[in-house]
Symmetry: C2
Subunit: 342 residues, 2 copies
DNA sequence: TGGGATTTCCAAAGCGCTTTAGTTGCCAAT
DNA sequence: ATTGGCAACTAAAGCGCTTTGGAAATCCCA
């Protein structure tokens, strides 16, 4: 069923039918209800390609998810972010277009998306400290919102981020308050902006107590379970092992726990762990009492909000870049305790 | 840059330019190369909406991911499947359109996708034992491939699945061979087809040794870490606890391990665990020696292949439904050992 | 009762592409 | 010199919608 057929069946012009359905005022209420009823009866939905062609809008948002070409790792946080964004889109009748690319092809993917006209805007995932995509998207003139930030980006842009620096500063202070002095950081790749900021928060907290960071206690790698395990394993073998550690993701925390338990140590007594918790739906951090003490911020909610920001930006493209900084809650669980007496 | 501009700049008709770029034979090689060069220079890419309108093809595949309305859980396996499918699509110049819906709205989502004409085909995720979507998609006439199967579906359809029954039958036999007799099954929700099949494999293996399944040892729920923990915790508190258990996902296995270790038991000695391993990129099952004994099958590869099957089906819609059954490997890791002497 | 204002509807252009149905020019064959 | 055939190109219709620029019908008030 298309507009032409529907309008013929109603004995009205395509114009009137179109206007009736799209809520224009120059159509009487009587015919509007008649049209709406007919549309429902015949399950008529405007063809999006035709509408897009006529309006110049695609009614779709692009998400480009980078897959690091070396490791081929898909960000586990991604699924929940998408779910959140998806909620916002379906409420606004937008589609979500996903493109999976290795970082080598990423620039081309954006240009393509632009030239093909498949999307009205883009969510940028996983920004690096110095991320070329921001300049690129400015250049090609496609509205975008970054999930995270890019510390060294020259141009201004819209973003939504967790206050990673503050979160890790607080987490570190918390451990210091418990008497820990050798605190390790099992970070994500520090080319990633979030990891860079977390490191700075960690260092700031140490500095505030007059402590210098020990390079041997700072590790950084992709946030997989295996890497969390390996990093922790290595840390525990040091001559002067840490009494506490911060991990950058719940997934690496799981790996860290494995290493801790394998060694016969007890979490929260022999060694403390604070992790960042994105509130992944399949990986809840405990039910009543959190398993891990954590800096918590829902990535799903971030998805919802980032999507809403982008839709806003598309509706009014001339607005100045919007930014939103979410604070992470520091929740106390069973994985931390006072530093063991030496 | 659009076709009209490009053709004017070249002093050719739109027809010729279009044909040159789309590889039609009725254009001389000389002009073809000229046209291609110009297209590259001006970064011309056909507008997909216009092309779609003209050809009737969207050059996009829809993925509808159900979010169970009660628990709002996003399938953790999903990200890797998408990554695999994405590889196939980008090679074939297809886009991927994601729709996140709660199961209540799912039927409507498919109809909408069809009527709006945004996609040429659909991948069905997470089929239930008796899944209404198969009849629905037949009815609305949109090509589709199911990732998994629906045991009670009346109509035939294309699918790609892991041999879940065989995998769990083998896994159970493996444990039986090790002397285990009380073997628990920590399954996914048994409304899901894969979980249903795994249960049958488990039961078949027991039956083959003349053992009757003990209902107290069979649990089924959403495959989260928390549920894996809870189920295992409960099992270990039984008067006659199992000496081995099968878990339906790597995520629940992590929870199971937590329960085991919390109790001070040693995995592979005091209790054995076999899990299904989807080879999630962020959750590798060990590096050289697998952590868990597992039935392994790459969900990413499944994504690649399912997508390829769908593209095939779209290219030739009249073909009979294609099916592909992937066998899972049974890999032996550190989580299993002989049944402890009572 | 007439004429402007208002309401309600419509014909047709246009979005950027593909594709059908030619047209043109050229050469070989008659 | 004509014809037929082929290679190389083009004009224009059409995909299904929105939207511009009217036109017709109705209404209101002098």
């Amino acid at each position: 069923m298309n507009l032409k057929e529907l309008s013929e069946r109603l004995g009205l012009s395509q114009t009137t039918v179109s206007r009736a359905l799209n809520g224009f005022p120059e159509v009487s209420e009587a015919t509007r209800t008649k049209v709406q009823a007919a549309a429902r009866r015949y399950n008529y939905r405007p063809n999006m390609r035709a509408r897009g062609l006529a309006t110049g809008r695609a009614m779709a948002i692009g998400h480009v998810i980078p897959v690091s070409s070396k490791h081929e790792i898909v960000n586990p946080v991604f699924a929940d972010f998408i779910a959140g964004a998806g909620e916002t889109y379906s409420g606004a009748d937008y589609d979500m277009v996903l493109t999976v690319v290795s970082d080598a092809d990423e620039a081309d993917a954006y240009r393509k998306l632009r030239a093909k006209g498949t999307v009205d805007g883009i969510i940028v995932h996983g920004p690096k400290v110095d991320d070329s995509r921001i300049a690129l998207l400015h250049e090609i003139g496609l509205p975008f919102v970054v999930h995270g930030r890019s510390s060294e980006a020259a141009l201004s842009y819209s973003w939504l981020d967790v206050n990673n620096r503050r979160a890790f500063e607080r987490a570190t202070s918390f451990l210091l308050d418990l008497g820990h002095r050798r605190i390790a950081l099992v970070n994500g790749l520090e080319t990633m902006d979030f990891a860079f900021r977390r490191r700075r928060g960690y260092e700031a907290a140490l500095a505030a107590r007059g402590l210098a960071p020990d390079p041997a206690l700072i590790l950084s790698d992709e946030m997989t379970e295996a890497n969390g395990y390996r990093a922790t394993h290595r840390l525990l073998e040091l001559a002067a092992p840490p009494t506490a550690l911060l991990t950058s993701s719940y997934i690496s925390a799981i790996g860290a726990r494995r290493a801790v338990e394998e060694r016969g140590l007890k979490l929260g007594r022999d060694i403390s762990i604070v992790t960042h918790d994105d509130e992944l739906s399949y990986f809840r951090n405990g039910e009543d009492v959190p398993i891990f003490t954590a800096t918590r911020s829902s990535v799903r909610e971030a998805g919802r909000q980032a999507a809403a920001m982008l839709l806003d930006l598309i509706a009014d493209p001339d607005q100045t870049p919007q930014t939103r900084l979410l604070e992470a809650a520091l929740i106390v669980g069973a994985s931390t305790g006072p530093a063991p007496r030496p």
